[in-house]
């Protein structure tokens, strides 16, 4: 057993082992500490002794014993809490069931607990990445661009809140399941969008986060089969992510959709995404927002070139989205699609109307969309000004370089306007989901 192989097993099994341990010992912190203990033992034994036949069951078993040790030590130290120890021992000595179905239920409990609406959105994301995905605190801190200590504090406070406020370790009841599931999906999509187009920093994409989000959605789809909103989200992310290799140059510059080499797109992911869109749209009930967004991504994925894209249908699907989950961001995307059907002048009217209503104040891609429309209309001075505003509005280096390129083209009076969209779909949708 090499350390890499062992690392992969921890990565695959840690979330599930933790989920089961939390149920067995009834305490989030204790379960986490106990799992750490078990991992330490595994790191000692597995390299020479070889892998146990069921690593997950092994981790749960050893973790459970470590938890009992910890409680005994604490109880002896504090001279009380005999009842607590007794209860814990009773609970934890129940048969150690690690069959997939039981562990699946534990995993769902863990996901719904981490995504409880009594946590702020960024806390939900951090807890999910740490516990469900098994990222280290340092990795979660990097995802949020904060220091490790600050993230450790944030996670600690969240875990304390689970215990002290009595956040249940349960899958919500039927009547609250739909809104709670919506919250879980929003967390997964937040992780994805940050991976797809980072908020700030030097790199356009953070593929590790996009991969985590896809992994989470796959897990959820397996645990709660037959739900259109989960399939829709998974399809949406697979289709967006399929373009990853085409979206930036070796030097880290943005490649626009119209300029992308479509042979670089991941065909396997596209066909999986297309099938999931079909499934999601065939589910009974009204179409779900993620499924419609995925249908739009599917039209891009199917098009052999930018020019051959079915823009009228894309504009139509944005109109559907505006009916089922209206938001200013969707309106902006709709305007961008309209520009490809009816031309930039009509789209600019829509953007102006949207801006006049004050719907997108502070939304960083609004000036970018406006700049692109103005450029295509040949209104170079206004376009330059809008690109400057767009530059000021983003903290992402590759976007800044892209806007600088556009301004330079305008300064040179480049050879006439060319049709294009300024950024990428997922980013423009991120607040609309």
């Amino acid at each position: 057993m090499t350390p890499t192989e062992i690392g992969k097993i921890f990565r695959d099994e840690a979330g599930r082992a933790l989920a089961t341990l939390i149920r067995l010992v009834g305490d989030f912190d204790l379960a986490e500490d106990a799992l750490q203990d078990a991992v330490a033992v595994a790191l000692e034994r597995w390299p020479d002794g070889g892998l146990p036949s069921n690593p997950r069951a092994w981790l749960v078993n050893v973790g459970r014993n470590k938890a009992i040790d910890r409680v005994r030590r604490n109880a002896a130290f504090r001279g009380k809490q005999h009842e607590l120890v007794h209860e814990l021992l009773l609970n934890a000595s129940a048969p150690c069931e690690t069959a997939d179905s039981v562990v699946g239920d534990d995993m769902l409990r863990l996901i719904f607990t981490c995504c409880h609406p009594s946590f702020a959105a960024e806390v939900q994301v951090a807890l999910t990445l740490r516990t469900v995905c098994g990222l280290t605190t340092a990795q979660v801190a990097r995802a949020f661009l904060v220091g490790e200590d600050a993230m450790a504090q944030r996670l600690l406070r969240a875990k304390q809140k689970i215990r002290l406020a009595g956040i249940p370790y349960e899958v919500p009841e039927r009547e609250t399941l739909a809104p709670r599931l919506h919250g879980v999906l929003a967390v997964i999509y937040l992780v994805f969008t940050e991976g797809y187009v980072a908020t700030s920093g030097g790199d356009l994409m953070r593929p590790d986060l996009a991969r985590e989000a896809i992994r989470l959605a796959r897990l959820l789809d397996a645990l709660m089969p037959g739900r259109g909103e989960i399939k829709g989200l998974l399809a949406l992310m697979l289709l967006h992510d399929s373009r990853r290799a085409g979206r930036e140059t070796a030097g880290g510059d943005i490649v626009l959709l119209e300029e992308q080499d479509r042979t670089l797109w991941d065909r396997g992911q596209i066909s999986e995404g297309l099938q999931l869109v079909e499934e999601a749209l065939r589910m009974p009930g009204r179409p779900q927002s993620y499924a419609v967004q995925a249908a739009i991504a599917a039209l891009h994925a199917r098009a052999s070139s930018f020019e051959d894209t079915d823009w009228p249908q894309i504009a139509g699907l944005y109109e559907v989205l505006l009916r089922i989950s209206p938001s200013p961001v969707i309106e902006l995307n709709h305007a961008a699609a309209v520009s490809m059907v009816d031309g930039p002048a009509r789209a600019l009217d829509l953007v102006n109307a949207l801006e006049a209503r004050g719907g997108l104040k502070g939304y960083e891609l609004l000036p970018a969309v406006r700049a692109d429309l103005l450029r295509r209309l040949g209104r170079n001075d206004a376009a330059r000004e809008a690109y400057r505003a767009a530059t000021a509005a983003t903290q992402l280096e590759p976007l800044r370089r892209f806007y600088a390129r556009r301004i330079a083209e305008l300064d040179r009076g480049a050879d006439g306007p060319s049709p294009s969209l300024p950024a990428t779909n997922a980013k423009r949708l991120r607040k609309g989901a």
């Binding site: 809490q81 409880h116 009594s118 002290l164 406020a165 009595g166 956040i167 249940p168 349960e170 919500p172 609250t176």
Partner: protein
């Protein structure tokens, strides 16, 4: 677990209600309180007089300072509370959402600190 459900609303706005609206609100509160007594969740509850009747006390360097109010710097003021027993936070939140003032103001749900 025990939770304190603190009812915050804008008392200036609320004072503008006509008699019929107030009566209806009182009836809704009565029905809600009855229902959580019957379900066994109820521990205690009170309505508070407006903040204008309040007095704030601080002791600094051994001296007692008394001030009028709290003055309503914030948009919503504490107007009453329920102390309840609930299985977990979800159960407490579901009860909080049924408090009539949740539709007008907001309900802060806090677990009671238990010393063991």
């Amino acid at each position: 677990m025990q939770y304190l459900l603190m009812i915050y609303q804008n008392e200036v706005e609320y004072a503008k209600n006509d008699a019929a609206t107030n009566q209806k609100m009182l009836e809704e509160y009565g029905a809600f309180t009855q229902s959580i007594i019957q379900s066994g969740n109820f521990k205690a509850a009170d309505r508070l007089r407006p903040t204008a009747t309040g007095t704030t006390v601080r002791v600094r360097d051994g001296k007692t300072l008394t001030t009028d109010g709290p003055f309503a710097e914030t948009r919503e003021q504490l107007g009453g509370y329920y102390l309840i027993e609930a299985k977990d936070l979800d159960a407490a939140l579901a009860i909080a959402a049924r408090i009539p003032s949740a539709r007008i103001g907001s309900i802060e749900v806090r677990p009671i600190w238990v010393y063991d």
